[in-house]
Amino acid sequence: MKVVIVNGGHEADFIVKMFKQKKNNDIIVINSDKAYCDYISANLQMPVYFGVATKKYVLEETNVRDADVFIALSNSDADNYVACILAKKEFNVKKSICTVTNPKNVELFKKLGIDSVICSTYYLAETIQNESSLENVIKLLSLENEQIVLYEVLISEKYAIANKTIAEIHFPENANISCILRYPHVIIPNGATVLRPKDKLVIVSAPSNQNDVVNFIQR
């Protein structure tokens, strides 16, 4: 896989290492910070191109044409946008991914043609909200543009379903208990599995069914 990684500080370092672990990856690193280029090339023993990735000649010289993935990690949303669009339009890059600092740019950039837009501020806010939640339901993840949600429900001894088997409780059909976290074990449940207090159920369903499922569990 041909991967291009543009700008970014520590996260770039980490991502480059991650892609380097797989043997067949052809990794191209471009950074506009000279000190960082020296650091990466010394640290990871690989060439790093010093230049500005929103310039066409830079993308030409670094030979990013037909890359499978193009990742832009700079602090400027506009720079990331232009680098990705240039890579897609002029260099036939298959998939473009960029980070943004402004959460509102996620929708806008997708609309304008970037394949994947990631906002760390948004994830940070969501994680903090989850971590500070006092309720027993935590949303873990949404997939395929929020058509599927994954959430975690903590079983209390007060719930009607506590200490019963899954077969007994007639769990709603439009949701699935994909696993149970019973510290320190992870259990893949079947009908005979007993739901114990302090178990964390990891549930998959459509967002529209989430409330019904949670209400069912918390009866």
Partner: protein, 138 residues
């Protein structure tokens, strides 16, 4: 949604180019709004300018919406940053359907990014070269 009447001209970036274009339209009696992120930038506007100025971040789409991007008939984008200019031009074209969009680009290679759109670019570099060739013929 019923179609809105587009009357406004928005100039983003009170660079010398932006400020003078704003004044030119204002003198013609057009409804002009000049946007820049720094309040001092508006000092460049001469007495001939009688339009509105507002200080804010034009890369914030909610700010542009609040200032009527969806009802603009023309948008002139002349900030100092090519990449911001491209982003704003694309948003004006693909999201807000602004009929006429002009932007300034220092890097001529970026002109490729507005091919097959109605966005038009002003390249100070090309204009200078052309002028030089013209002068050199004299």
């Amino acid at each position: 949604m019923k179609p809105m009447k587009r009357t406004k001209i928005i100039v983003i970036g009170a660079s010398r180019l932006g400020a003078n274009i704003a004044r030119m339209f204002s003198e013609r009696g057009e409804d002009v709004l000049m946007i820049d992120k720094s309040p001092e930038a508006f000092n460049k506007l001469s007495d001939g300018f009688s339009g509105y100025t507002i200080c804010g971040d034009a890369t914030e789409m909610s700010f542009l919406e609040a200032n009527g991007i969806a009802t603009a008939k023309k948008v002139i984008i002349a900030t100092e940053d090519d990449n911001i200019n491209i982003l704003l031009a694309h948003a004006s074209f693909y999201v807000y359907d602004v009929p006429r969009i002009y932007l300034r680009l220092s890097d001529c290679d970026k002109g490729k990014l507005i091919e097959n759109t109605s966005i038009r670019a002003i390249y100070p570099f090309l204009l200078s070269i052309n002028e030089f060739q013209f002068l050199d013929k004299e």
